[in-house]
Subunit: 179 residues, 2 copies
């Protein structure tokens, strides 16, 4: 049963941070006047494999954690994207210059179901190839790297793939696809 | 290379929401005066199996997403916890009344490396047993459920395990442990 929302106040609305405070009442009658929700657009990320079977990764600095690691290509679904799939194709093209191939929806996860209202959609793209240079924003500092399946599995085992939204679909991929 | 922080301002500091704005400079010289970071304590969750091999799950409503689903036991590392392991044992005991068994560190993931500064530690506990009733807070409405390995795998495949911080270690567990 859903909690009842007795009131909502927006604390902050900026392009990269929208925070609200809900006054909620639980089914047991207990009230919490201070429940914080962070609103985000949905996200996408991509498990992309080249025509010769290598996985397309990027490497970038993540300021909140203070770490630079290998990651799946990922991004925000923009208002101009016709669908999550189109957002995923756009992000792969912009961040890596890769395109083409066969695409399918693979998994959907929540980053934080208690405090964030969005989900992240993972797509699986096979047979992609380099069709362009990267098209980066000035605030993006992203390099492209190709890895074999064994190399990706090793990074997963070592904890190099730090972000749960990327590790979850990758571990699923390797649980279901033996190579 | 890390970004340079030219200034920091705290926007909000409450027990469940701490937000700051950093003015950062990237290695390429580009400045972003408005980079938001959410500060959280580290979290824990637990893959717990009973003496007869069943997995201990909980079910609860998550207000930000507006969904009620099956989840791993999870919680925040409190200042009073001697270690992440002790926090995990405390959470399992409080939320389910299960304890005992053999415990080991299993994986560490980030919920959102760009905007959140914390990580989540997963522990694997085998041979746990019911030693108590639940000890819930008034704002917790949590029920306990036991599942076989096949049932957990089916929930993973169907997307019932929505939270990436739980799906990532569970998919890893099944990728590495065939039953």
């Amino acid at each position: 049963m859903k909690w009842e929302v007795l009131g909502t106040e927006y604390l902050f609305r900026r392009p990269w941070l929208t925070a609200r405070r809900d006054h909620v009442r639980l089914p047991n009658g207990v009230e919490n006047p201070e429940y914080y929700v962070l609103e985000y657009p949905d996200w996408v990320n991509i498990i992309a494999r080249t025509e010769d079977g290598r996985f397309v990764f990027v490497r970038q600095y993540r300021h909140a954690l203070g770490e630079t690691r290998y990651e799946l290509v990922a991004g925000v679904i923009d208002p101009g994207d016709a669908s999550p799939l189109e957002a995923a194709k756009r992000e792969l093209y912009e961040e890596t210059g890769y395109g083409g191939g066969e695409w399918q929806a693979f998994a959907t996860f929540s980053p934080n179901a208690s405090a964030m209202n969005n989900t992240s959609h993972t797509f699986l793209a096979t047979g992609v190839r380099k069709v362009s240079e990267q098209h980066l924003e000035p605030t993006e500092d992203i390099t492209v790297h190709l890895f074999t399946a064994d190399e990706v599995l090793n990074m997963l085992r070592e904890g190099e793939i730090r972000q749960a939204l990327m590790a979850a679909p990758l571990w699923r991929y390797f649980a279901e696809n033996k190579e």
